[in-house]
Subunit: 289 residues, 2 copies
Amino acid sequence: MSSAVEPPAPSPTRARRERTPHPAPQTIAVVGFGNFGQFLGATFAAQGHRVVGCSRGDYADAAAAIGCEYVRDANALLDTKPDVVVLCTSIMSLSSVLARFPVDRLAGRLVVDVLSVKEYPKGMLLEVLPESADILCTHPMFGPESANVSWAGLPFVYDVVRLNSAPRVHVIGKQRCETFLDIWRLEGCTMVEMECRVHDEYAASTQFITHTTGRMLAELDVKTTPINTRGYESLLGVVDNTTKDSFDLYYGLYRYNANARAVLDKLETGLSALRAKLEAAERDERSKQ
Amino acid sequence: MSSAVEPPAPSPTRARRERTPHPAPQTIAVVGFGNFGQFLGATFAAQGHRVVGCSRGDYADAAAAIGCEYVRDANALLDTKPDVVVLCTSIMSLSSVLARFPVDRLAGRLVVDVLSVKEYPKGMLLEVLPESADILCTHPMFGPESANVSWAGLPFVYDVVRLNSAPRVHVIGKQRCETFLDIWRLEGCTMVEMECRVHDEYAASTQFITHTTGRMLAELDVKTTPINTRGYESLLGVVDNTTKDSFDLYYGLYRYNANARAVLDKLETGLSALRAKLEAAERDERSKQ
């Protein structure tokens, strides 16, 4: 740990806070150390884990400020012999990051993804990782915006996709996975164990609908007025939150969730059906006049 | 006032509460004594006004329970010599209610409407009322669901459309109108003086958008899931609130607000534009592979 390093003035969102120390600290490699990687890394480190970030950019100062180490080379990262490797790339870049990663060196480790879609990384990790790598697919349903102060009560969805079945190794791997899950339990997350397929069905009906609605309304350039209703205020909140996220994330939710297209179809059909009802009522009214 | 009448056990939403007494009580006729008419009448009466409801149905008991009188005949209503006649019909029935109302007997009175669209009743009242009737068009932007406990801070939109210009009469009419507006000021409403035309522009961009979004999502049969995001919870709230209102109200917002069709067009265009952006990003991604 970089406890010997005097951290530069941390930004308020990255400030180290007192956390319940984790009873069994791990060495955790974080691949992709952007906004979300740092957000997770800060809490891992605050629990007492050794956290080593790795990205192509220079995040050494940012890492030091939150009690993490930092390297720019994947082999240097793996030289730290991490128990767990957390992939914190965007949906869009997962494939290219893995293509240039020394995946053979992930043999015997626990590999975790944290993407907002789940079937896609599950399939890819099963395809490219060595058979002895354990796989845990997760979706922490919060981020720096929504969980700056605390993760308590926020949903952490996970699916233990693969544990090495060799008898003695299996017990150790299972324990390592539980130890990693304890991080989220310690923070008070609502733990939701759910198959990747089921996650994607729910996520299309919730997260993707919400982002689509927010972005549809943003296309209309909706604004606050002197006569906002409470319902309208709620919609303005949704527009604000969804447009704060990048278009790339939204595109990822669409492109890499097999259910998203059907939801988009249903929204279009729903809006048309509603208009048809209004127009039918209008014809009905006119026919009575 | 029916203070001699022992009210039957009032429902919780209609219970008489202590209110600041109005300094200049008026006699207020309420035409249309359904849910919304009773909601307003209860507060008028609690402030010390004499309130006389009138509808085709039998609401005598409901009226007594909230300190109001009740008649079923428009002539009997006008025999009470009301200072103010508040039209509490639905948007859809305004025209037919006025067609069978002895409108000539509204001469010299203040006539108020409370509909969620404003240009439509303004035009109709200017057309059918005697010239000596004053006209106040209003939109209390709340109802029994959203303002059961208090009206404080909720928007009351109004437009003094016409005051009889005869010199002495004008002063009296203006005072009568201010006295009526004091009802809403006493309850702590946010008073928003706004032309009917401007109201309808804002309302199409806020209230109609909100109802359309809620009803579009209701067409998809959206439900709570184990992995709701906060934004999705907001949308579920909007669906719940907008579908509690009748389809007739929604249809009225569409049919009798000249800006509603354009908003519906914009929503359809917004959704198509969003889909086009996703599909363009998809083509772009594939062309790079």
